[in-house]
């Protein structure tokens, strides 16, 4: 039998691999690790997807996935690793959440929130009210947040400071870079027509 050498064991990176995850999840680790080692986009899979039993009766898991972590089955959809690795991935926000800093005038430190978890302005403002223990009030197009001590503002892609609520939610989500809750006289100023 001829000696085949290195090729016989493939790249044999196992000896130097870092082990991830809990002990006892060997198979899943192997798949994830071999993905990382080959610089493939990792295919995280749900723990139950052991692959050795037919799934005739269970509907596929995909549509149960939470937005940030899509449950994936190895090799499905059937796209070659080469293609997965070489296509420019979509903006990071799509996978990792849309985090923006929130500052409040007078507060000693900033907060950070993920805009993606809110369903709309109402939801967002409620969360801000809870987070900073204040009252922002109700938005009106003509008068902003009239009557409130605070006005939520945001810096958009062009670097301008805008009043939260003027544009449709989706547009806000994609253009908001950071939030600032203005207080006092400055805030009241924003409510008046200019």
């Amino acid at each position: 039998m001829e000696s085949i050498g290195v090729e016989e064991k493939g790249l044999n990176l196992e000896a130097t691999e870092l082990r991830l995850g809990l002990p006892g999840r060997d198979k899943i680790e192997k798949e994830i690790i071999s993905s990382f080692n080959k610089n493939k986009r990792a295919a995280p899979k749900s723990a139950e997807d052991d692959g050795s039993e037919a799934k005739a009766d269970t509907k596929h898991r995909d549509h149960e996935a939470a937005p940030a972590a899509k449950a994936q089955v190895i090799g499905w959809p059937p796209i070659r690793s080469y293609r997965k690795n070489n296509f420019a991935p979509k903006k990071a926000e799509a996978e990792y959440g849309n985090y923006v800093k929130v500052s409040m005038d007078g507060a000693p430190y900033l907060r950070k929130i993920d805009l993606k978890v809110y369903t709309g302005y109402k939801d967002l403002l409620q969360a801000l009210e809870n987070m900073f223990k204040l009252s922002i009030g109700v938005y009106s197009e003509r008068e902003g947040y009239k009557g409130s001590e605070h006005a939520p503002t945001y810096e958009d892609k062009d670097g301008d400071w805008m009043l939260v609520g003027d544009v449709p939610w989706d547009m806000f989500m994609s253009s908001c870079k950071r939030l600032r809750i203005m207080k006092g006289s400055e805030a009241r100023g924003l409510g008046c027509a200019v």
Binding site: M1, E2, I4, G5, V6, E7, E8, K9, G10, L11, N12, K27, K30, E31, S34, S35, K38, K40, A43, G51, S52, E53, A54, K55, A56, K59, H60, D62, H63, A65, K70, Q72, V73, I74, G75, W76, P77, P78, I79, R80, S81, Y82, R83, N86, F87, A88, K90, A94
Partner: protein
């Protein structure tokens, strides 16, 4: 009455007979024809590297000049074949170095090629001309440097989608100044920057350069200088197609592309800045092949481009083209033969683009020459499939991937059996089919009944039981390759159709309820077929015979059981004993 005419005459006649099929037929006529033919065969194709071995190949065909070998099963592309499975080129190159000193061409697909192999190629074959490695792995740019430095008459170096350990771009500088023979260079899969001045000089001194595919790191600004040095180009792949907006760069590009009067195929287009797309407008009317499958451009830009390519025969594109873009394609590109639409965001359940079954229906309506389809989408209906089948009876390859596994007809919620049934019934010349969506055993009944010319079938998450597999194995007369994953097909169909497996190149089954006991039985029943159980949980002997195995690969072979299996593969032997 016996008569003979000189061997030389027959040899001369045979030199006009090129295809394997015809050559094989010739060799069956009689013993002397077999002998004459085998001595003058120059080209051999080995579809499965384990179906035969170097010794057998060399013994039969002593004067080969061109070899093509394929290794891993197709599902290796989707990470279903474990690392270390096999497909090593090494034993082949060692044997050929001794037996075929005049070897000129090597074409490999899904094989493991080491730097040692490349060095051996470089040093053993004086007339070496063509090296194509498609989806191969195991080598580095050091190996490429060796090829560049030593192959005096190299004409083609094509690394097509291989995984190369990219140590540096310097390897390209190893082409000596005396190398002027290059006709085709494809380095698109390489990650690191190649020495650009070396590339430019190489291109300048190779007057026959017809194909050049750059890698992503070659900046757009460098293209004009490169293109004016390669006016004979027929196929060109750009690097990253982006730069800051500069009018003089745009006009330089326009002129450079216009200078390539023979350009028929374009690819590359990573990171596209849309403002630079018009640079290729001058060549659009001559293009027959356009690969935009890495281009992140949106439908309006794709439409503007495609509507100028009236002679387009092949289009690879992302689903950014959307249904609207496919409508335009259908209107403008009447010569279209092949369409591949890839998903831009395959892992999101929600669609990110407006691409549906309608796009494919439009193309089938508008493009009478449509032969080959690969289409990823998120919904399909039987009605659409009926229409496609009716419009495109000349389909040869139909690969449909509905992204959500087991998705039914989105209009009726029924299985897509009838739709695919219409495809196989109407498309009599269909050779390759990939199924997806919600499918019962019924679709396999249709396939077994109608798909008489089908050679390759891919099945995933489909069927109800053994009957489905039985239909396929008993009905598809031309079946050569069958690959199945996550289907409820088990022992019965396999055992009942064991003889069929001797007529096929290979069968792959993974995550199917096939028992170890059945594998052992198959091993006993089948002669000259390897039944390989792949199981990373350790020896199947440690579990009951009724336990399902993870993966199964069965293929016919003249070579007996493999001698290079890794520790997670067990070959069932003919005595039904414990293997290995």
């Amino acid at each position: 009455m016996a008569y003979s005419f000189p061997e030389e005459v027959l040899e001369y006649v045979l030199s006009f007979i090129k295809t394997d099929k015809d050559r094989n037929a010739v060799s069956l006529v009689c013993k002397s024809w077999y002998e004459i033919e085998r001595w003058c065969r120059r080209r051999v194709f080995i579809g499965n590297c384990y179906a035969v071995n170097p010794r057998i190949m060399i013994r039969r065909f002593p004067e080969i000049r061109s070899v093509e070998i394929k290794g891993k099963p197709h599902f290796a592309d989707f990470n279903l074949v474990p690392e270390g499975w096999g497909g090593y080129f090494h034993p082949w190159v060692v044997a050929m170095a001794r037996a075929y000193p005049m070897l000129e061409e090597i074409r490999l697909k899904r094989m493991v090629v080491s730097d040692d192999c490349l060095e051996m190629i470089a040093k053993s074959f004086k007339n070496f001309r063509v090296l194509v490695m498609s989806s191969c792995e195991g080598f580095s740019t050091d190996g490429l440097a060796c090829i560049a430095a030593n192959c005096r008459n190299l004409r083609e170096l094509d690394l097509r989608e291989s995984e190369v350990e990219d140590l540096s771009g310097h390897w390209l500088s190893h082409f000596p100044d005396t190398c002027t023979s290059l006709e085709s260079l494809n380095i698109a899969c390489l990650g690191s920057e190649v020495c650009f001045s070396a590339l430019e000089r190489l291109v300048s001194r190779c007057p026959n350069l017809r194909k050049l595919q750059l890698n992503r790191t070659v900046p757009l600004e460098k293209l004009p200088n490169l293109l004016i040095r390669a006016p004979e180009l027929v196929e060109f792949g750009t690097g990253a197609y982006s730069a800051e907006l500069r009018p003089e760069l745009l006009s330089n590009l326009v002129n450079a592309f216009a200078g390539c009067k023979k350009l028929k195929a374009l690819s590359g287009f990573w990171d596209v800045v849309p403002a630079y797309i018009p640079a290729i407008y001058p060549v659009c009317c001559g293009l027959t092949s356009l690969n935009l499958s890495y281009a992140n451009i949106q439908s309006p830009d794709i439409i503007k481009l495609v509507s100028q390519c009236q002679n387009l025969q092949r289009l690879w594109v992302l689903d950014y083209i959307e249904d609207s873009g496919l409508d335009v394609l259908a209107t403008c590109c009447k010569k279209l033969e092949e369409l591949r639409v890839f998903p831009s965001d395959p892992y999101d359940v929600e669609p990110n683009v407006s691409l549906t079954e309608q796009g494919l229906v439009s193309v089938s309506e508008g493009c009478p020459k449509l032969q080959s389809v690969l289409y990823f989408c998120r919904r399909m209906s039987n009605a659409a499939l009926f229409t496609i089948a009716k419009n495109s009876p000349n389909l040869i390859r139909f690969r449909l991937c509905i992204i959500e596994a087991r998705a039914p007809d989105y209009l009726t919620y029924e299985p897509l059996d009838a739709g695919f049934g219409a495809i196989v019934e109407n498309c009599r010349e269909l050779r390759r089919l990939s199924l997806s969506g919600f499918l019962t055993d019924r679709v396999f009944e249709y396939i077994g009944k109608h798909a008489k010319k089908l050679e390759m079938l891919s099945i995933a998450f489909a069927g109800q039981g053994d009957l489905g597999l039985h239909h396929v194995l008993s009905g598809c007369d031309s079946l050569r390759k069958l690959e199945i994953r996550d289907c409820p097909f088990g022992d019965k169909a396999l055992l009942a159709n064991a003889a069929k497996l001797e007529t096929m190149r290979s069968l792959w089954m993974s995550s199917c309820p096939v028992s170890y006991g059945a594998c052992k039985l198959l091993g006993q029943k089948l002669r000259r077929v390897n039944v390989e159980v792949i199981d990373e949980r350790g020896t199947p002997e440690s579990r009951p015979d009724s336990c399902h195995i993870e993966k199964l690969y069965i293929y016919r072979t003249l070579s007996g059981p493999r001698v290079d299996t890794p520790d997670f593969i067990w070959t069932m032997d003919e005595e039904g004993n414990t293997p290995q």
